[in-house]
Symmetry: C2
Subunit: 417 residues, 2 copies
């Protein structure tokens, strides 16, 4: 007997027929003797419609009202799934964020979860009932509904799994797991049976869009094992594959992974732009002078590269950011040109960051050299490099993205046999 939180996204609950399919997945786990709580998103399209109405009502709109409007989507799905489960003979009831309560901070529209009272949910679970929880929403300190921002239902699910001490949080989505890289680029990409939290965090933040970064962070902090699988699987398909798990990817502590591959996956991130500041004075406080104003403008800077200066007086600073923020960032920096003190500002819009990720590289030398050599052989020019303990990222021209991803996937032995 295990305690499981099952989360279903918008496409999995797009209509009542699909919700019935979700019900069958839940019933299977109940019949297997497990305790189950479910977290649901809004029906696919519902949130977009609600957001569109909100925008039509007012270009600048009160985030608290936005939250009241948009949270109604998950409210509907939670009720519908509860009814479907009851019809299958599974005792179930819906919970809205304010009923649990799931308390958030006051950042309406993109609130963070502050605390969850698991008492009511645990009491239902031990009673053999299925709480069906509206994801994406909670109660803010002002006694009003707060939403967690796009994709927040994943975060809800992991947080609830932590609050009720679940053995696992199963994320049912429209892909059947986490792959070594994007299968649309590399048809030989393989589904990973297991991946460590740290690796998944890099995969998620680097563009593998299976799970929200926040939900992976939360899973890592609270040690919640997350299992990603497809909601399109037949609910009555065999649940135990040759490796002891149904088809899908388990995101878990690295201790649970017996032998690590040196490299687990290759991620990439398009829609990046590059800005380089030339001959910045090499003195304390310069980096803060550059990135402080950008942070204030809520511009999310990604890769930052600064090399040791040659002459001891000036250096170049390169960083990447979303293409959509480039113009704003340039404007901010140009107006502060004399204050920051740089000679010139260069930009490049069509760049891509490709990353090689793997916990195993901590204990293996030469991983980076292997990447650089392979890319050089294919004529891919590397614009900038950053590394961390478990990843190597290179910035290249966007036109070479697919070539670089395929090359790296192959050179680290990730291609399917």
């Amino acid at each position: 007997m295990a305690r499981i939180v099952m989360k279903f996204g918008g496409t999995s609950v797009a209509n009542v027929e699909r919700i019935r399919n979700v019900g069958a997945h839940v019933k299977r786990e109940i019949d297997a003797g497990h305790e189950v709580a479910v977290v649901v998103s809004a029906m696919a399209g519902a949130t977009n419609q609600l957001v569109a109405w909100t925008r039509e009502a007012g270009a600048i709109h009160d985030a608290r009202e936005y939250d009241a409007i948009v949270a109604s989507g998950e409210q509907v799905t939670s009720g519908l799934l509860a009814i479907v489960l009851q019809g299958m003979g599974v005792p179930a009831r819906s919970f809205q964020g304010w009923q649990i309560p799931l308390l958030t901070d006051k950042t309406h529209g993109s609130a963070r979860i502050e605390s969850i009272d698991g008492t009511a949910l645990i009491s239902r679970l031990t009673d053999g009932q299925v709480p069906v929880i509206a994801g994406f929403q909670g109660l803010a300190p002002d006694n009003r509904i707060a939403t967690l921002g796009r994709g927040g239902s994943d975060t809800s699910a992991v947080a609830i799994a932590a609050a009720v001490g679940a053995d696992r949080c199963d994320i049912y989505t429209d892909v059947d797991g986490v792959y070594t890289t994007d299968p649309r680029i590399v048809p030989k990409a393989q589904r990973l049976d297991r991946i460590a939290f740290e690796e998944m965090l890099e995969m998620a933040s680097l563009g593998a869009k299976v799970l929200q970064v926040r939900s992976v962070e939360m899973a890592m902090v609270h040690k919640v094992r997350v299992f990603v699988r497809s909601s399109f699987d037949a609910p009555d398909a065999p649940q135990v594959g040759p490796n002891g798990l149904p088809p899908g990817t388990l995101i878990c502590d690295e201790d649970e992974i017996v032998e690590h591959q040196v490299v687990t996956g290759i991620a990439y991130s398009k829609d990046e732009a590059q800005i380089t500041l030339r001959r910045v004075e090499d003195k304390p406080g310069v980096a803060a002078g550059v990135f402080g104003p950008l942070a204030e403008a809520a511009i999310n800077v990604d890769m930052i590269v600064q090399n040791i200066s040659e002459d001891g007086r000036t250096t170049d600073i390169t960083f990447t950011l979303p293409t959509s923020d480039q113009a704003r960032a340039v404007e901010i920096l140009e107006t502060r040109k004399s204050e920051i003190g740089f000679a010139a500002l260069n930009t490049a819009a069509e760049v891509c960051k490709v990353s090689v990720i793997g916990i195993g590289m901590r204990s293996h030398a030469g991983v980076a050299a292997q990447a650089f050599e392979a890319l050089a052989k294919r004529g891919v020019n590397i614009r900038a490099i950053t590394t961390s303990e478990i990843k190597i990222s290179v910035l290249i021209d966007a036109a070479y993205t697919e070539l670089a991803v395929r090359t790296l996937h192959s050179v680290y032995g990730l291609d399917k046999a």
Copy 2:
């Protein structure tokens, strides 16, 4: 300065453009110096869609889940109108039933309001803010959302007007007031400037579908003056007509109406069926034996006619009920035939009840005779008659409905000049 509750129905908030029109109505009252709270229904069609999903999810569905699902419609509208008002420079915020709180009993799906804490609303009103309240919903004792049944937003509005001590509750609807009868049948029907609560109660329950019966009852009990007007009026049209009020009908205490017409209006109710029990034993408890089982089956019996028995031993009992319940009622009575003790059961499906209503008839003799004579002259056969202090109802063949309504409207001098 007055304190006003304004209520807008589904067609008045059918899309964002219409909601903007509602906002203009609200702003007009604010600009005139009034304190305003608003109650809104769901966007037209939204509730039907939600109900359809609920039915698709399960033919027999948990009323608590139905409530969670269906109440989301009003939640959306309240948020959208708050945003629209803010955009017009009117400080506003949405309130869900559970946030006020508006407490109901536990009858999920058709709950009754138990109490409303007006504190938060009054504090907003005196601050010059506009609370935008989701109608139709409240919080049940189990800490879950309860809805008030179809048309419950009218009841919400009147109850909230009572709770905040409003001077008036303005119901904006798709008609511009209460008429002496249905204008589709009698083009010469006139809009009433004022109508007493008791009269409106008869008009509402007898088929004039302007306001929910429950909301009129509540208005009468709490002495809430209700003003019915059209939401299609231009918001900037002159608000004071020749009689001191904008176009519409004020439903108020009879004391507020200086001189009463003998007859205020003619109502009718189609889709009625008639059941007559022949030669029922004339002894105590017989009526209870007939109507008890029907009440248990939630069959709403309307007109009941029982005459003095001629022989002192048996009598006939006639009653009407909705056509949709006729078959069920007949079955219930036939299975209890020997227990109740009747000789035969006759039915008629195509009948109509036409009612003459007016507080003035309390002090006027001959009102009933006038009706019977007028109908006889036109060859309309009266099947049964019941009367109360302020109304006379006759049951006739449905085919004569329009003729009877027109005849009575004319005979009591209600035709527009």
